[in-house]
């Protein structure tokens, strides 16, 4: 395969994904993910950005089949993840790995670092000898910046950044094709965030990983992601390349998210003329009719309450807004 062929191969196609949770007293249930479609190309990092209640974590969990999807498809290597049986799912784990937000909570406290990182090898490469396993564990540890002397230590002995390195080493042990990163740097100290962001980007390029990078704000995806998908109340508001999303956001919600990022410059921060978006995300148990964002949208008109805006191309972006042309 040439580089061009690589660059245009679809690694993941999500089609019309819906996830609904049953909620006592609500016949309709809670529509956490509502008709979400997108693709991730081979070697691409797609950022999924949304506030709490946007459905971003449900999306990640649905990908790993930790919650059942109500409908839709999720194609990896031509296989629909949502229809796999237990054995098929287990085989898929080799190609699809996850890194969690809270690294310490995601590591078994009773296992040593050596055991944690070797676990995928024991499971999927049972024929490796002890020595071969150790060699591979040490190699991946060196690659993520852990030292051989860490082998026999336990998760609680590590800081957040170091624990995240352990999680990354475990996720990459089998050289997966696809990586889901659920807010991988949100919980880390400022001085450690950029270390881990750099590491993830290096590894993504080195392993040609396709990545879904989940975040709650736009600041944390600009460095890491090639394309960005903005979710609100379970629906896609906008999908665009990084350059286009930051320079020419078409959806009023994307613009509000950009304006909400604190400016680390006291003079510019106070000279700002924009007013923050009012209100808060409505309850997903009773979402607004039409466009789910309309109750907070500065551009909302009568049509927005009557008609769900479909995702359509405006400029270089795909955007779900009746008034996208007026706001560019």
């Amino acid at each position: 395969m040439t580089t061009t062929a690589l660059a245009t191969t679809t690694a993941l196609a999500v089609e019309h994904l819906c996830v609904r949770y049953a909620v006592a007293g609500f016949k309709q249930g809670l529509q956490a993910v509502d008709d979400v479609s997108f693709t991730v190309l081979r070697g691409e990092t797609l950022g999924v950005v949304g506030e709490s209640g946007s459905g971003k974590s449900t999306l990640a969990r649905a990908m790993l089949r930790l919650v059942p999807a109500t409908s839709g498809r999720m194609l990896i290597r031509g296989v629909d993840l949502l229809t796999l049986d237990k054995a098929g799912l287990r085989a898929m784990r080799e190609h699809l790995q996850i890194i969690f937000q809270d690294p310490l909570a995601s590591l078994d406290p009773r296992m040593s670092v050596a055991e944690i990182i070797a676990e995928p090898l024991r499971e999927f490469r049972p024929r490796l000898t002890r020595a071969e396993r150790r060699e591979r564990v040490l190699a991946i540890m060196a690659r993520v910046g852990l030292l051989p002397e860490h082998l026999q230590r336990y998760p609680h002995e590590f800081s957040g950044g170091q624990a995240q390195r352990i999680g990354i080493a475990r996720a990459l042990m089998l050289q997966p094709e696809f990586l889901v990163c659920d807010e991988p740097i949100s919980a880390l100290d400022a001085s450690i965030k950029s270390q881990i962001a750099n590491l993830l980007k290096d590894l993504q390029q080195e392993f040609q990983l396709s990545v879904i990078f989940i975040a709650h704000d736009l600041a944390s995806v600009r460095f890491s992601c090639d394309r960005i998908l903005v979710l609100y109340l379970g629906r896609v508001m906008e999908i665009a390349s990084r350059a286009s999303l930051f320079q020419l956001p078409r959806h009023p919600y994307t613009r509000a998210l950009l304006q909400a990022v604190p400016i680390a410059d006291p003079v510019r921060a106070r000279a700002r003329t924009t007013t923050p978006l009012s209100g808060e995300i409505p309850s997903p148990l009773s979402p607004p009719s039409g466009c789910v964002f309309r109750t907070r949208c500065p551009l909302a008109i009568a049509r927005c309450a009557a008609e769900v805006p479909g995702l359509r191309r405006v400029g270089d972006n795909e955007v779900a807004c009746h008034r996208a042309e007026e706001s560019g």
Binding site: E51, A197, N198, A260, I263, A269, P276
Partner: protein, 340 residues
């Protein structure tokens, strides 16, 4: 190590050589180690630091709430010494003269009591207001923090409100007794980004309506830049740099401050191929090096940095001028920005 703000005659609050020590498994833990602070009415001081920097412990000390710790040094409120003061002195201050806004509004509010009861409790106790007057005051405060349908809110419980509204209630609770000092510990960290922007706007707005001094603690330089006029940067229990906010954000002189500032991803303009980083690991207060605590991670460290911690001293600007409000605890005098 002194840190005096501009235009202060009689400081509202004056902290000198504050040391907070816990007993650790293998010896004492100096979580705050020799901090000086002065606050005057109307001040807005931002304290930025990462986990283990001592910023929250410093804030708790201003409320006398470091349970189990040995607190030494001096904290004077309007001249009265508070270190080792009896608990009833603290009780007269807490909530009434010095109020706190906590990070998580859900833990700051009592789930069993109505918003009205919680809002009026403080003014009734500290100010002896009647139930009706206190209720009137609560309605005014809800209006000041832009909560609509205020009368109905007074009868509601915390779980009936959204996260942003709960934090507005907590801010209203902190302000209702008209304190002299408002402490805020990561007040927006638990909130969504659009709600964070609303709360930061509210804090800025309230500052123009009250003479209370604000101390805002955050790990996020962006949040600090939005609200604070003066900034102190903490590392391993010490203030390592402080200045007025514009100076700190444009002319930082401590390598740690500069590293924090450079590691922020800009929202516009060119992106670097790699983000600038601060190498190494966060400090472990149980095993600090003998010299500057930042030295093991510092690209500018030299022999002297490993001998004794550098004092927080007035910065001399490149032209030879002296900037009295700008202080740094660093032996390195050369330009920053050359390190990888």
């Amino acid at each position: 190590m002194r840190a005096t703000p501009p235009n202060s005659s009689t400081p509202l609050l004056s902290v000198r050589d504050l040391r907070i020590t816990y007993r650790g498994e293998s010896g004492p833990l100096h979580v705050v180690d020799g901090v000086d602070l002065d606050l005057a009415a109307g001040d807005s001081l931002g304290i930025v630091g990462e986990s283990g920097s001592g910023k929250t412990q410093l804030l708790l000390a201003l409320l006398g709430l470091n349970a189990g710790a040995r607190v030494a040094g001096s904290i004077r409120y309007r001249g009265d010494e508070l270190v080792a003061a009896p608990d009833r002195s603290w009780q007269r201050l807490r909530g009434a003269r010095i109020a706190m806004i906590f990070q998580d509004p859900m833990t700051a509010l009592n789930p069993y009591l109505t918003i009205g009861t919680q809002l009026t409790e403080g003014v009734r106790r500290h100010r002896g207001l009647s139930r009706a007057t206190a209720r009137q005051r609560a309605l005014e405060m809800l209006d000041a923090v832009h909560i609509t349908e205020a009368r109905r809110r007074l009868e509601q419980h915390p779980h009936e409100l959204s996260g942003g509204m709960r934090q507005r209630i907590v801010i209203a609770m902190a302000m209702i007794c008209e304190p002299d000092i408002i402490l805020a510990d990561e007040p927006t960290t638990a909130l969504d980004v659009t709600v964070q922007a609303q709360i930061l706007t509210l804090l800025r707005e309230l500052r123009t309506r009250t003479r209370a001094a604000l101390v805002l603690v955050s790990h996020d330089l962006g949040v600090i830049a939005e609200v604070a006029d003066r900034v102190a940067v903490m590392y391993a229990g010490r203030i390592v740099e402080q200045a007025d906010a514009p100076t700190l954000f444009t002319a930082a002189r401590h390598p740690y401050t500069e590293g924090l500032r450079r590691s922020i991803v800009p929202l516009e303009g060119a992106l670097p191929l790699r983000l600038p980083t601060i190498g190494g690991l966060p400090p472990n207060v149980a095993a600090l090096p003998p010299g500057c605590a930042f030295a093991p991670r510092c690209a500018y460290a030299w022999e002297r940095c490993t001998t004794a911690p550098p004092p927080l001293a007035v910065v001399s600007e490149p032209g030879g001028a002296i900037a009295p409000e700008h202080r740094k605890a660093c032996y390195y005098e050369g330009p920053l920005g050359l390190a990888p």
